[in-house]
């Protein structure tokens, strides 16, 4: 057994026998890895008796779950209604350009993964984005680029 598989088994074990635990157990694995490694599903099947097909069906249904690794920082650009009317689409195209994203949502150097989210609930500060756990409001294109660069630098230190 790979060490990753062993680790995942340890994360999964406490959820054994709890009714309706599919989503919490997937959340617990993703909290550690940032995504759901392939090994997750057979382990959940063995440990919890939930068929892989079912857990995979749940994982692909909910927007929160990712099936591929993510960058060091996750940028959640809000496209809720308030952000939308305040120009989030322009921010999005500038941000993709700035990060050099083409077909994928992660930068080649693995520094950033971009996600579009429906609403962060900070509508009065629209347009808004969240990087990791920090929310930034009243964005302009310039301000957004500055924030991205300062986050990038923080990581270098």
């Amino acid at each position: 057994m790979t060490s990753k598989a062993k680790d995942i088994r340890e994360i999964v074990a406490p959820f054994k026998g709890i009714p309706g635990a599919t989503i919490p157990v997937l959340q617990a694995v993703q909290n550690v890895y940032g995504y759901l490694p392939e090994e997750t599903f057979p382990i959940i099947e063995e440990e919890m008796g939930i068929p892989s097909s079912k857990a995979y069906g749940v994982a692909t249904f909910y927007a929160q779950f990712r099936l591929s690794p993510v960058g060091k920082h996750i940028v959640k650009l809000c496209d809720g209604t308030a952000c939308h009317v305040k120009g989030s689409q322009t921010l999005l195209s500038s941000l993709r350009d700035h990060l050099g994203l083409k077909d994928f949502d992660s930068t080649e150097d693995g520094a950033f993964t971009l996600e579009i989210v429906a609403c962060l609930g900070c509508c009065s500060l629209a347009p808004v984005m969240m990087i990791d756990d920090v929310t930034y409001g009243n964005l302009t294109i310039e301000k957004m680029k500055d924030i991205i660069e300062s986050v990038r630098k923080e990581g270098d230190d």
Partner: protein, 592 residues
């Protein structure tokens, strides 16, 4: 002078605006030995546009400071906290100690029932909640009332579900109480999914115990022994504060076995959503708690008879529960005093979009949209014209200028094609394109459709494709009729509210702004200048005063000009963001 309280609005919005740095200043200053100062972190008081907010309270009164940064905080600390003299230039308006009277119209037309403690108490302290009559309603229910009298009180109050559908709460409880079964469940729907809505987030971040107390009262009334709060994962602070509140309530004996020494047992578990809008629908939410894909089920049977794990289940929204303790303590008659017709009490709205004072407001039902948007919300920034207000999120609709005097009650809003919804109000001005907004909502519902019903899954995609081509300038004359046909089919052939309501944004924009659709389809123009393919920004030579503001604002360096030389937009560098139009003080930027 006795002690001085310094309160900092420490909800997600305040933190995003920089409250953390302000807090550090106060903490550092307090360490230097001013023991008469007490620091409180509260939820959001609602004036989010002025965040970070700091309040200073002493024997002489209560002052609210706006847009506080660390430098302002230092001076406020020196002059007001230590010196006793308020820094008037930064205050919002003086509230009297009972929190009712305010000089600013922001609070003048508001009446806070659900938000009675939000922004006032420390949400992480059960003592602070207890000081404000917290858990007194629960005690009253247990010692002086029986389940039937509780249901009667709630029915008499006229409280209707605040999640949007407006079903009478007392009636819902009575169904679940009557349902046969030894095991019953209670759910609090905190999966606030409407984009542009943040009422429940603020309530949970600002006063989680009021929601818990409402739930415990409901559990006692219907006979439920287990409860779930289903909260979206996008609200990490709300989840953290709920966890703290649940733990505190257990320690004090309000949750768990033999609550307040009775044989009542009830406990609450927190479930984090995983990002699916459809889980706001109660049967989809139940499926999600059970660990399934969040797909709605056919009703009947209703959850009151067969809900979570097939057992009778009562499900209410966050705000509905938060109203319960107030109604029990103050009485149905007091609650009835607010509101009009069949909509009683107050409603919390989140005001956002093109509005001067965005934030959270709680007003009596029946307050007009005009009052909420213009008197409380301060109208539209930059003297631009109001165009519409969007109510009810992706299942709601856009209400135009000539209907601004509509009172906000369930039936009046519905009569105009929108829905009350959970309380999101997004204001749009003349620069917002209504066709593009319809496209935006359709792309949202298309994306969030669970896929169960064909018309919702495929029909919304067909509608979206039509709207996309209209906003691109490829619209056809037949498109409007086709949109209307599809809308009717989707509305009548979908199982749940997501599909049934999905066409509403299109139908209301067609109803009130059909001319904009025609402009896109026939003239290939976007009157609002929002659809990129159809818009060219041009600076009017006559009106331009060469002030340079647009040149500075342009993110793509597409504007050329110097002081004294009229400015010009270089079209092949223009990304059509409209920043130049937003900043121009002379209305010189137009669209062609």
């Amino acid at each position: 002078m006795s002690r001085t309280i310094v309160r900092i609005g420490y909800a997600s919005c305040g933190i995003a605006a920089g409250a953390k740095d302000v807090l550090s200043v106060v903490e550092r200053r307090m360490k230097k030995g001013s023991r008469k100062v007490q620091l409180q972190k509260t939820g959001c008081i609602g004036i989010c546009f002025d965040e970070p907010i700091v309040e200073v309270i002493n024997d002489l009164g209560q002052w609210t400071y706006r847009k506080v940064d660390p430098a302002r905080m230092e001076r406020i600390y020196d002059e007001h906290v230590l010196g006793g003299v308020p820094v008037y230039e930064w205050t919002v308006g003086e509230l009297s100690t009972d929190g009712k009277k305010a000089e600013k119209p922001v609070f003048e037309h508001q009446r806070r029932i659900a938000l009675r403690n939000t922004g006032v108490i420390d949400p992480e302290s059960i003592e602070a909640y207890l000081e404000r009559q917290g858990y007194k309603a629960l005690e009253k229910v247990i010692r002086e009332m029986n389940p039937d009298s509780v249901i009667k009180e709630i029915m008499d109050s006229g409280l209707r579900g605040r999640g949007g559908a407006g079903f009478p709460t007392g009636l819902k409880w009575s169904f679940c109480k009557k349902a046969a079964g030894d095991k019953k469940y209670l759910i609090c729907n905190a999966d606030e999914g409407d984009p542009g809505a943040f009422m429940d987030r603020n309530l949970l971040e600002g006063d989680p115990h009021s929601v818990l107390e409402g739930m415990i009262i409901a559990a006692h009334t219907i006979g439920a022994s287990e409860g779930y709060i289903y909260c979206r994962a996008e609200y990490p602070l709300a989840i953290r504060r709920l966890k703290i509140a649940i733990e505190q309530a257990r320690e004090k004996g309000y949750l768990g076995d033999s609550i307040l020494g009775t044989d009542l047992s009830f406990d609450i578990r927190l479930k984090e959503g995983a990002g699916a809008f459809v889980c706001g629908e109660e049967t989809a939410l139940i499926a999600s708690i059970e660990g399934e894909r969040g797909m709605p089920r056919i009703r009947p049977p209703f959850p009151a008879e067969a809900g979570l794990w097939g057992k009778p289940t009562n499900n209410n929204n966050v705000e509905t529960y938060a109203n319960i303790p107030w109604i029990i303590l103050m009485g149905a008659k007091e609650f009835q005093k607010f509101g009009i017709k069949s909509s009683r009490g107050t409603k919390v709205f989140s005001l956002a979009g093109k509005i001067n004072r965005g934030g959270l407001v709680e007003v009596p039902m029946g307050t007009t949209l005009r009052r909420i948007i213009f008197e409380i919300g301060g109208g539209i920034p930059g003297d631009r014209k109001f165009k519409a207000v969007q109510l009810g999120g992706p299942s709601g609709g856009c209400i135009p200028t000539h209907l601004l005097d509509t009172p906000v009650d369930y039936e009046s809003i519905m009569a105009h094609g929108a829905i009350m919804g959970s309380g999101g109000m997004v204001v749009m001005d003349e620069n917002t394109c209504m066709v593009e907004i319809a496209r935006y909502f359709l792309s949202f519902t298309q994306n969030e459709s669970c896929g169960k019903c064909t018309f919702c899954r495929v029909g919304t995609l067909r509608m979206l494709e039509i709207l996309e081509r209209i906003t691109r300038g490829d619209g056809r004359e037949s498109d409007i009729d086709e949109l209307k046909d599809l809308a009717e089919l989707i509305r009548t052939s979908s199982l749940c509210g997501l599909g049934q309501g999905a066409p509403n944004p299109v139908l209301t924009t067609l109803k009130y702004f059909e001319n904009e659709y025609h402009a896109h389809i026939v003239e290939k123009k976007c009157p609002a200048g929002a659809c990129r393919e159809l818009t060219t920004f041009i600076i009017d030579e006559e009106a331009c005063r060469a002030c340079g503001l647009c040149r500075k604002a342009c993110p793509s360096d597409a504007i050329e000009g110097k002081p004294g030389v009229k400015h010009v937009i270089v079209q092949d560098r223009c990304i059509k963001c409209g920043s130049c139009r937003e900043v121009c003080p002379f209305d010189a930027v137009g669209t062609g």
